[in-house]
Amino acid sequence: MRLRRIIPGHLLTIVSALFMAVALVFTFLIAPREAVMGDVQRIFYFHVAAAWTGYLALVVAFLASVLCLTRGPGRWDGLALSSVEIGLVFVTEGIVSGSIWAKAAWGVWWTWDPRLTTSAVLWLIYASYLTLRKAVQEESRRARIAAVYAVMGFAAVPINFMAIRWWRTVHPVVLESSGLHLGPTMLATLVLSVVAFTLLYFTLLRLRLRLQDAGDRIESLMRCPGGVS
């Protein structure tokens, strides 16, 4: 079974691009100008979407790592690696866009607020995952060590999500137990952005898995004693 075959081909790319275009139109042209913050509030739509997609990617990496440990590396290791890589891209986008928003809203690029601090820790944990993989040469050992690390490192994800609920923070709480306190157009823009980013994640994952499969096949051919050496 090839994991990348689960995700349909060009259709996904086209739908993803369409949703992203609609999300951009909503963000810049249709969503109303926020009364207090003005246009800079529009960063919120893509900041939240990037953060959500980062979480999603890391959840997928966690599940793939659990499967890697229980069922053997197979293709699960490749899925975990691909998803961590893409997750790191989205977490980076969330941190950077949040930092730019913070400069406009709070007057500083960075403050050691619980959400920001746990985001930085989260980023470092998953950047270390990629570094760790480069440090281990033997394939199956690397897969096992990386899977254990990814499972343990995943603890940072719920902590990061709950940080603004557990501790006193200046970071706005968007999703409260009473729901999302947004006007209908703002809510529609946020939902569209989240869907667009989720589709972008699956598009990138499909591309990354295709490369992973090709790379694995080439490596095994190069290593194969009876094959090409």
Partner: protein, 47 residues
């Protein structure tokens, strides 16, 4: 407005940077395939 555009620039810059990196990886794999193909052709010539 400049903060808004800076945020979007960085956001898309990071995404495109990643896509370019994927593209570079693909080129690298294509080179490896060429090397493999050459070696296979050499083996056939020798045998």
């Amino acid at each position: 407005m400049s903060y808004l555009f800076a945020a979007f620039l960085v956001l898309w810059g990071v995404t495109f940077g990643y896509v370019l990196w994927l593209n570079a990886r693909e080129r690298e794999l294509r080179r490896k395939i060429e090397v493999l193909a050459e070696r296979t052709a050499d083996r056939h010539t020798v045998s």
